[in-house]
């Protein structure tokens, strides 16, 4: 594997290779000195054209835990505001010695474009409403560690699916790993044409609630027009929020996940957010290990496991 741009088309073996590696890196992160010299001398550049502190920090933490150096490209103070093209920005960072580029952008395909221009591996850290592959890997890792496997799990992804890259990459990973996926949203928040998608669809949360092993909640993507999918926020909370009453109806072994940042009181009640049955902080912790696995696979041993 040369780049990590999308989950689409990835085999079960490729996904499990990342999960196995991430399991090993989780052990590293538990050590008194949570650092290995594997990528010493390598430079990882993070190019975040869309603000996202948590994902950028997670990648940088992963790079440093592998002893790589980090180049941080910060758009607020950069040449992007001076009219520099995406290509020139990418070539500039490459010329500064970046050995791998992590790209986050508000437009679909940004990482694909960068991969066409540079001769080093590119990791898609989220492109528009398209894909967020490392999120899908860390979520799969979290589910596998909690349940032992994904085979047979019923995962309900709830909310603004239409504008969600987390949903698009997640549903592909979960179903490839054997889970059953149901997308739960009103038609206005679902993709318009899901022909051939490995999912079921429910417009009523309460209909499927009691059948789920995993409730995966999404944030309303205000910045991509998510708020046009309903007529008032209280309406959304009433119909699709995981409130205390709905939480009480979940199966006892069911868990709650969220990619963050959460909006307490909207898609998730404060009580649920703080409950021991949410895996939200596990997702954050596992995210560092999952990204270590990706950086390792692309930089240290690109030939293996694919």
């Amino acid at each position: 594997m040369r780049h990590l741009l999308t989950i689409e088309g990835m085999s079960r073996e490729e996904l499990e290779d990342f999960l196995d590696l991430a399991d090993e890196f989780l052990e590293v992160l538990d050590r008194p000195i949570p650092k290995v010299p594997t990528l010493r001398g390598a430079t990882v550049a993070t190019m975040f054209f869309e603000p996202s502190t948590r994902t950028r920090l997670s990648f940088e933490r992963a790079a440093r835990a592998l002893s790589a150096d980090v180049l941080t490209f910060a758009p607020a103070t950069s040449s992007v505001t001076k009219g520099e093209s995406l290509k020139d920005t990418a070539l500039t960072l490459r010329a500064m010695g970046a050995d791998l580029m992590v790209v986050r952008h508000s437009a679909t395909g940004a990482a694909h474009r960068v991969a066409q221009w540079v001769d080093v591996p590119v990791v898609n850290a989220g492109d528009g409403a398209h894909q967020h592959p490392t999120q899908a890997i860390l979520d799969s890792l979290t589910l596998r560690r909690h349940f032992g496997k994904l085979d047979g799990l019923h995962v309900g992804i709830v909310g603004d699916i239409r504008h969600s890259r987390v949903a698009r990459s997640g549903l592909q990973a979960f179903s490839t790993l054997g889970a059953r996926v149901t997308l739960i949203a009103p038609p206005t928040l679902l993709p318009l044409d899901m022909t051939g998608w490995p999912v079921e669809v429910a417009h009523d949360f309460d209909d499927v609630l009691a059948d789920l092993d995993v409730v995966y909640l999404l944030r309303i993507q205000q910045e991509r027009g998510g708020a046009t999918g309903f007529t008032s926020l209280p309406e959304y909370v009433r119909r699709f929020g995981l409130d205390d009453a709905r939480f009480a109806r979940l199966r006892p072994e069911a868990v709650v996940m969220h990619p963050g940042p959460m909006n307490r009181g909207v898609e998730i009640s404060p009580h649920v957010a703080d409950s021991s049955r949410t895996l939200i902080l596990d997702q954050v912790r596992n995210g560092v290990a999952a990204r270590m696995a990706v950086l390792f696979r692309l930089l240290a041993s690109p030939g293996e496991g694919t």
Binding site: E8, K87, A107, A110, R168
Partner: protein, 423 residues
């Protein structure tokens, strides 16, 4: 004197194998099976065996970018591209900076074109002042300057009241209203066709209905006003059906299709290559099939390039951020042949005769006969080639690196060779 020898020639009486003799600015003879090939020490002979010979191509839809955006294209570079593509006349879209909304601006474009002298550059006029959709452009001065086709192309004239007035006015002046049909509300800032691919890519989609609702509304206004109406770059099967019905009802309606819409569908966007970004967007394989059928059966009258140059550096961004449009002058003939397997008669109807009639160009689009203006093209319909580099100042073509069938061998404008290539 130029003798185009042994080609398959489109004449008013049908297609014949003949030598076409050009002297000065005119065709002076079409010699079928000449017993004695015409000899003249000064004659230049072009071997056209195996080639189609017919009237020079006419493009109803060219963006030459001058005045205002000369880094993308100008009238000289665009004329070179046109000649290389077999065109002897192009209708220059008025969405320049400033827009062609006053007589002197149209005159500037025509005069620049004449000075370059590689093809006739025929200015189209804007429908609304500044293409802002609020007030009618200076129709009388524009008509005085030779404009016969009016469009706010690049944008849609949305205001139905203003469009009605434009139709009422122009119906009386033997002019054509051409519409870029895209309802802004339904288009919703979409970047590509709304469908299975846009849903998967998470890209905002532009539904087929954004085009079809505008065409349906405009056709009702045509019925009311009797204006001559032309649908630009038809992209959906639904629009084809609307045109088919309007023509059956006898409305004065014509339509064009762009070569890229005959060849590519929305799956190409998966490459994220901005050379597949245009408005209207690439649609579904079913739409592509229907467009091909409609071109061959005459429901769609013409192939028009929507040649829309953008500089390399403007393309070095994401698909969503890239500007709209692709170049097409140098690949239009080949793309049409490759996509449809069109025959010679229909080829010249679609790329020369119909567009010349729609744009009211009397010196173009005339079958080859003694006394007709020597605006001619020689096309080898079986030659294959792969575009790598274009005469256009911009290189934003979806056909780069794709093998095409059909090659323009020579172009003559009023008896002068404006393009020639050896076999």
């Amino acid at each position: 004197m130029i003798v185009i020898r042994g080609g398959s020639v489109l004449t008013p009486d049908g297609i014949v194998v003949a030598d076409v003799v050009v002297d000065g600015e005119e065709v002076i003879a079409v010699d079928e099976a000449p017993a004695q090939p015409r000899q003249s020490p000064s004659a230049q002979v072009l071997d056209a065996s195996g080639c189609w010979v017919g009237p020079g191509l006419v493009d109803l839809h060219t963006h030459l970018r001058e005045p205002g955006q000369e880094w993308k294209e100008d009238i000289a570079s665009g004329s070179r591209a046109a000649a290389a593509g077999g065109f002897t006349a192009v209708v220059a879209m008025p969405n320049t900076v400033p827009a062609i909304d006053e007589g002197h601006r149209a005159r500037f474009v025509a005069e620049r074109g004449a000075k370059v002298g590689l093809c006739d550059v025929v200015p189209a006029g804007a429908l609304s002042l500044g293409r802002e959709g609020e007030h009618l452009a200076r129709f009388d001065e524009l008509i005085e300057a030779g404009v016969r086709l009016f469009t706010d192309d690049g944008d849609t004239l949305v205001d139905a009241g203003l469009l009605r007035r434009a139709m009422e006015y122009l119906a009386d002046r033997d002019c054509v209203i051409a519409q870029h049909a895209e309802d802004p509300g339904l288009a919703g800032g979409g970047h590509m066709h709304e469908g299975s691919v846009s849903s998967r890519l998470g890209m905002r989609g532009l539904p087929a209905l954004a085009e079809e609702t505008v065409v349906a509304r405009d056709l009702a206004l045509v019925e009311l006003t009797g204006a001559t109406y032309h649908v630009q770059h038809v992209s959906t099967a639904g629009t084809v059906e609307l045109i088919r019905r309007a023509k059956a009802a006898g409305l004065p309606v014509t339509a064009e299709v762009a070569p890229h819409h005959l060849v590519f569908d929305h799956h190409e966007v998966e490459s994220m290559d901005p050379n597949f970004k245009m408005y209207p967007p690439l649609r579904t394989p079913d739409d592509v099939a229907e467009l091909r059928r409609a071109l061959l059966d005459g429901t769609i009258d013409a192939v028009a390039t929507d040649h829309a140059p953008h500089a390399d550096h403007e393309q070095e961004v994401t698909f969503e951020e890239a500007p709209r449009g692709v170049i097409g002058l140098e690949t239009a003939a080949a793309a049409t042949i490759t996509a449809t397997g069109i025959d010679q008669q229909r080829f010249f109807e679609a790329l020369s005769i119909s567009p010349a009639r729609i744009a009211r160009l009397e010196e173009h689009g005339r079958p080859v006969a003694p006394g007709s203006p020597a605006n001619l093209v020689v096309v080898d319909p079986t030659a294959t080639w792969t575009p790598r580099r274009f005469h256009s100042r911009s290189q934003n073509s979806p056909f780069l690196g794709r093998q095409l069938t059909g090659k323009v061998r020579a172009t003559l404008l009023r008896g002068r060779l404006t393009h020639q290539e050896t076999a």
